[in-house]
């Protein structure tokens, strides 16, 4: 795994590049191409702005070059979707090819300036340039280069309003595009569009009832404006501060049927794509506030202000006709973080669906199958708005919809409903509850007397295994490794100690310190992907890596319904972002407030990842309800037994 990634060189310690950014549009301004003509350079389209899809390299001496190399309008997505002219930068997606020749590109960018240089002279704000710049470039990339597996191809159209990148900066940028022939044209267009947007935003703001939200948005907006050095020149000024408030972006496809047909468990909508986001927003039930100051590398993932929606949702409980109360309740609990863990979320969701199906009645002139499917899609979209789906939930939804589709047409409504309810019950029983029992049975055979077992976080399967092994009288002790901000291990610790198991508790910083005395590592998983990669709570990969180094076997305990045929090579292209404020605060220690007001700082972004991907090399065995299998056999299980869902 290490050989796949070439370490990026940070050329200028003062200037920290985070994420992707396009090399400055030198070709327009005329700076010399770097001597080391890397292949990407040659691919640049004649329009001059397009950057090769192979990106990267942190340019040096940006500040000095900024004014000279301020990227001209062509890169701006405002150009009415002139895709071809735009540079191609994968939007927010991690493209390993971009790291292949850092030196080559470094030269390239030496006197080139990333298009996103802040007009305010914040040369350090390269990162922020990415989103808007990236979006524009992404479209070009699409045209120029077949998107890599990781690149987000979804940004087909140039997003008009990139993100919360303050409109102010956009404006600034706009003005600062010197010598760009297209600029004047752009300005008019931009201005027009901006006016249009302002009108829309005003309308939206008026519609919004939450004053707090707008306030929060406003403050957020202000900070965004402050941070906005990062606005790339191409950033359309459409999005200005108020739009941030109004722009409650939500994840989730608003074309539910299409989405479901693609059988994509995660909302794969890329949040850098303004158009999609706008569309999605219009249909959203949950109005979410876009978070401020997002990390460039993860702009393709949704991030919201946590906690702002809860009061709003609660107050609208009785007004949300399309959403069944049970589903609504589950969604609110997801939002609040009450339910966490793949199995718990999946079971809660399925039970809520059961409730809603029980209360369902087919409207006249409609087919039960189609109408019910549409309703389920609506519920799923709502749940996605509350919190992005886990892979286990995605598989369960796929199963449910397949079962609905396979209902015989001649069944009466009550028969059909009873059949679906029964199917859901069977799914929960067979795939989750019984599967856990089988896993426990297999796993306890691998625990011997005198073992020291290490586990990370809190996995329901691992907890069951430890409790059962203790019941069987095996002598072992447990090391629980925990990490901020969730500190989930404490719950597990409490329960194990309550049963009389001797436990050691530590934080992940000490994992390499304790690993030498550990004999087995037991980990849970949110999902296991087809190439054997384990997708699990963030921190799992580190624990597995350390265990591998100490030659301690790593056992992953995962039910088979969580397997997915997707392949993921890193933790970036698909993940979930949590609340960054959780990192800034330490509960119970109010004196640790160094990060108070972090949103006001332009140079600082906080990143709170929820999941990470553990490569299969670090995994010794996967314990599933189909037995103990090596990680290379996951696609066999997927192939042979996912189809069983259709014929349960």
């Amino acid at each position: 795994m290490d050989s796949r990634r070439v370490p990026r060189t940070v050329s200028d310690p003062k200037v920290r590049q985070v994420g992707f950014f396009a090399p400055p549009d030198r070709f327009q301004s005329g700076p010399p191409v770097p001597t080391s003509s890397s292949p990407p350079v040659s691919e640049i389209s004649p329009s001059g702005n397009s950057l090769s899809p192979v990106m990267i390299p942190p340019p040096r001496n940006l500040s000095s070059d900024m004014s000279r190399h301020f990227p001209p309008a062509p890169i701006s997505p405002l150009r009415g979707g002139r895709g071809a002219a735009d540079s191609s930068i994968p939007v927010g997606s991690y493209n390993p090819s971009e790291f292949i020749s850092p030196t080559a590109t470094a030269d390239f960018s030496e006197d080139a300036v990333s298009p996103g240089w802040s007009r305010k002279g914040n040369s350090a704000k390269f990162a922020s340039s990415l989103p808007t710049g990236g979006i524009g470039m992404a479209s070009v990339k699409q045209n120029n280069v077949p998107a890599s597996g990781l690149a987000t191809v979804s940004t087909v159209r140039m997003p008009k309003a990139v993100t919360e990148k303050g409109g102010a900066t956009g404006e600034v940028q706009m003005e600062q595009q010197p010598g760009d022939s297209k600029t004047s044209k752009e300005k008019t267009t931009k201005a027009e569009r901006r006016a249009l947007q302002e009108a829309q935003r005003a309308a939206k703001a008026a519609a919004k009832s939450e004053g707090s939200k707008t306030q929060a948005a406003a403050s957020g907006v202000n900070s965004i404006n402050a941070n906005s050095g990062k606005v790339p020149k191409m950033t359309p000024p459409k999005k200005d501060s108020s739009s941030v408030a109004a722009s409650e972006k939500r994840g989730g496809d608003r074309q539910p049927d299409k989405d479901r047909k693609k059988d994509v468990p995660h909302p794969r909508m890329q949040f850098d794509d303004e158009n999609r986001v706008e569309k999605a927003k219009r249909r959203s039930v949950v109005k979410q506030t876009e978070a401020r100051s997002r990390v460039e590398l993860f702009r393709h993932l949704p991030q919201y202000e946590h906690g702002t929606r809860l009061p709003d949702l609660e107050s609208r409980f009785f007004q949300l006709d399309p959403i069944h109360p049970a589903v609504y309740k589950v969604g609110v609990r997801y939002l609040a973080g009450d339910i966490s863990g793949g199995n718990a979320r999946c079971i809660a969701m399925l039970q809520a669906f059961q409730e809603s199906i029980r209360d369902y009645s087919t409207p006249p002139e409609k087919s039960l199958i189609r109408d019910l499917t549409t309703k389920i899609n609506g519920y799923v979209s709502f749940l996605i708005e509350c919190r992005p789906l886990s892979i286990s939930m995605g598989n369960a939804i796929r199963f449910l919809k397949t079962r609905i589709n396979k209902l015989a047409l001649n069944l009466s409504e009550s028969e059909a409903k009873a059949s679906i309810l029964l199917d859901i019950d069977r799914f929960i029983n067979e795939k989750i509850i019984l599967a856990d029992k089988v896993i426990v049975k297999h796993a306890v055979t691998k625990i011997r007397d005198g073992d020291v077992l290490l586990t990370y976080g809190s996995s329901s399967a691992v907890e069951m295994i430890l409790l059962h092994a203790h019941e069987l009288g095996k002598q072992f002790r447990v090391v629980i490794v925990d990490s901020r901000p969730k500190l989930e291990g404490q719950m597990l610790l409490r329960r194990l100690v309550g049963q009389g198991i001797s436990c050691t508790y530590t934080h992940i910083n000490a994992v390499s310190y304790v690993m030498h005395e550990v004999t087995r590592v037991l980990l849970g998983a949110s999902s296991v992907l087809s190439n054997g990669t384990v997708y699990s709570r963030v921190g799992t990969a580190s624990v597995a890596m350390v265990a591998h180094q100490f030659r301690v076997p790593v056992l992953i305990c995962c039910e088979a319904y969580k397997f997915h045929e997707r392949v993921q090579l890193d933790s970036i292209c698909s993940n979930e972002l949590g609340d960054p404020d959780a990192i800034a605060r330490v509960s119970g220690r109010t004196e640790i407030n160094y990060l108070e007001g972090w949103t006001n700082s332009e140079n600082l972004q906080l990143l709170n990842l929820i999941y990470d991907a553990t490569p299969s090399d670090y995994v010794s065995m996967i314990i599933t309800d189909y037995g103990m299998i090596p990680p290379t056999s996951v696609p066999v299980i997927v192939r042979e037994y996912q189809r069983e869902h259709l014929w349960i």
């Binding site: 691998k446 065995m621 103990m628 090596p630």
Partner: protein, 367 residues
């Protein structure tokens, strides 16, 4: 070792795993004439095979009155030195079906299960025996033809499958020998560890095909497998060089391929084989020499050892020739586990497989 079997079949020498006693019995007196005789005998109707080379096992071919003793039958088969243990078990189980007096399918299956369990418990350390029994049960009872209304025809169909399974298993060695011919090239040096009949068949076939190669045999203490193997190979005019076990790394430079058999192939794709295999695989891997394993498919077992101690131990006491002080312990395990990353290919009757395919095959067969 055997602990739950009826008294009459107790392991006469509990110190040594039955599995290794069998092998010792088979190889105690090995002459080529005798070998040829046994082979020829096996080629004919098996009941006529000469099986009197060893008197270690007390069980003869007696059948108790009405109850059919599967273990007796098994022992009968087992005495033939050229017959693999699992194949003997399979044949014994097939004869259980033949002589069963059950009248319903369920009863027959229960009988089979009981017979299989008694065989397995007779020697708990033998992986291929356990795996062979399990696979047999799977293979035979998996047929959809069991839904015949007529019990007799169902039974005969079952019998047919059982005998076919026995045939396949018996012929497995020839198939493996054929597959591996491509991997032995002229002028190559092969390092062999342990006395595996499959590997012997491979080398014999290569010699008969007039390939020029030479063989390094490890001494294989304490079973002296190297001596026996070199004996056999010398008869086929294959140049053989004996190494002591510690000289493997020293000679690894001259070696082109490493060939071993397997007592069992586990789910991860690794193998359980005679003690010393893991060492040799480690050395070979570090010097980039391919390690080939020749194993029949009935040796695929649903085990998954995580480390060396995670298996049922098979004890084989070592006689050092001099008395040892009482406080000195001896590591008497007879086999070790080689993880899949050190193996290159497995030659099986299912074809040439890479280690990760073993689990796929097992899943398809068992689930």
């Amino acid at each position: 070792m055997a602990t739950e079997i009826p008294q009459s079949h107790q392991n006469p020498d509990p110190q040594i795993s039955l599995y290794y006693q069998t092998r010792a019995a088979h190889h105690a007196v090995v002459t080529s004439d005798w070998l040829a005789q046994a082979q020829a005998a096996v080629g004919h109707h098996p009941e006529d095979a000469v099986s009197d080379n060893s008197s270690l096992k007390s069980a003869g071919g007696e059948e108790s009155g009405n109850g059919y003793s599967v273990v007796n039958e098994f022992n009968n088969w087992r005495k033939q030195p050229d017959l693999a243990e699992a194949v003997a078990a399979i044949r014994a189980l097939a004869s259980v079906i033949r002589s069963s007096q059950a009248t319903t399918m369920m009863e027959l299956e229960i009988e089979l299960k009981k017979a299989s369990d008694s065989l397995k418990s007779w020697d708990t350390t033998s992986i291929s025996l356990t795996a062979g029994c399990d696979l047999f049960m799977r293979y035979v009872t998996r047929t959809s033809a069991l839904e015949y209304e007529d019990f007799n025809s169902a039974k005969s169909r079952l019998l047919e499958r059982a005998e076919r399974f026995g045939e396949i298993s018996y012929k497995a060695r020839k198939i493996i020998a054929m597959l591996s011919q491509d991997f032995i090239f002229d002028g190559c040096t092969i390092l062999v560890h342990g006395f595996s009949r499959v590997v012997l068949e491979v080398l014999r076939t290569a010699a008969q095909n007039r390939k020029l190669f030479r063989v390094f045999c490890t001494e294989g203490r304490p079973d002296r497998t190297g001596l026996r193997l070199s004996n056999e190979l010398a008869k086929h005019d294959v140049p053989v060089k004996l190494l002591i076990d510690s000289a493997v790394a020293y000679s690894m430079d001259e070696v082109d391929i490493v060939f071993v058999g397997a007592d069992g192939v586990v789910e991860s794709g690794g193998i359980i084989n005679m003690m010393g295999t893991y060492q040799i695989a480690l050395v070979a891997k570090s010097m980039n020499k391919p390690v080939y394993v020749a194993a029949e498919s009935y040796k695929f077992a649903r085990l998954y050892p995580l480390d060396q101690k995670d298996m049922v131990p098979a004890i084989r006491p070592i006689d050092f020739g001099v008395p040892l002080p009482s406080k000195v312990e001896v590591e008497t395990s007879a086999r070790d586990y080689t993880p899949p990353q050190y193996l290159t290919f497995l030659f099986t009757d299912l074809g040439v497989l890479s280690p990760s395919v073993v689990s796929d095959e097992l899943i398809q067969l068992y689930l």
